[in-house]
Symmetry: C2
Subunit: 199 residues, 2 copies
């Protein structure tokens, strides 16, 4: 005998496909949804189905509703700067700072040959084509996390992009806000020292 | 400017209504769903919408697809026993043990006047009617958690049900499997001692 009506099982199975959600959490989610009205459930279901309408921007490969994302379609964006990020989510993180007004390009990940992420599986070819065919771009910002794969990707892209004669920059390394010098690692502290700015 | 296309925002807002899911987790869920095919998204959305078809069993108040739940509709169930639980989920937990073959009744919670859960907000009246009008019932098992609200509910129901002359039982208290006597609290150990069984 089944322990719950089929719809509860189906909903738990569906929610169990979310990342980090096991069978117990999925069942908890399903039971919580049971307290919602039919109308609310319909709107939640619709919101999920509507995700199917999301495509990738043909220029920068971020998530978009049309062929061009809002940033690529915005003429007020500074077309001289191209910020290259690993994932589309990184764009929102950078946008939240409001200090960058240029364009973006989503590489689709970082180089990690062990996990099978080689230049061929990333949007490297599209990036090279974009930089080659965009004389307006003067600076490429390689905005990757300063970990092994990020550093590998920065080194690789630096070499690939060097032929186009653009200025290439990377995010500053240094002490994060609220950090304690006593506990800072040597690489971070060395970067903070060499990259010191006027007080 | 919005940081993501509207469908992603909507999905994150919808998923953020799940219990314990904050804006960051909701966005993570939404991004994970973006990797699913349209067909998969449709089936997940349908599973959630279908939860709207769940009703409550008219006899025992558990979740059901029809007027009667599977257990109440099952003639092979022992009609002499009624196990009264706080939530519908408790039924599945007890069913998983396979030691109980009787019927259930979902009270809808435990008594907790501070949170506004008085006898009127629970299914107390329906329970009293059911016990009164079911001469087949000989035993009422008060299967509540042994915490403050569970104990209060057990005491309250004992008093209310006492007029019907049924045998009333509660779940045994004692050492849980794998427990260490050294760390057991006094109440549990006292219960385990007084309720000791033949070795």
């Amino acid at each position: 005998m089944r322990r719950f009506p089929t719809p509860i099982h189906n909903a738990a199975a569906a929610l169990g496909r979310l990342p980090g959600v096991g069978p117990k959490t999925a069942l908890r989610y399903a039971f919580a949804l049971l307290h919602f009205s039919k109308l609310e459930l319909a709107s939640i279901g619709r919101a999920i189905v509507d995700l199917g309408n999301i495509t990738l921007c043909q220029t920068c490969f971020t998530f978009a509703e049309k062929d061009l994302c809002e940033i690529c379609a915005d003429p007020n964006r500074d077309a001289t700067k191209l910020c290259i990020v690993a994932e589309a989510r990184d764009i929102s993180t950078i946008e939240a700072t409001s200090v960058y007004k240029g364009r973006y390009f989503v590489l689709g990940g970082t180089l990690n040959p062990i996990d099978g992420r080689t230049p061929e599986t990333l949007n490297v070819k599209a990036l090279l084509d974009l930089v080659k065919n965009s004389p307006s771009i003067t600076e490429c910002i390689l905005a990757f996390s300063p970990d092994v794969h990020g550093e590998t990707t920065i080194m690789y892209l630096q070499r690939q992009l060097s032929t186009f004669g653009k200025s290439m920059t990377r995010l500053a390394r240094g002490l994060p806000m609220g950090a304690d010098i006593e506990y800072a690692d040597e690489v971070t502290l060395a970067s903070a020292m060499t990259g010191r700015s006027k007080a």
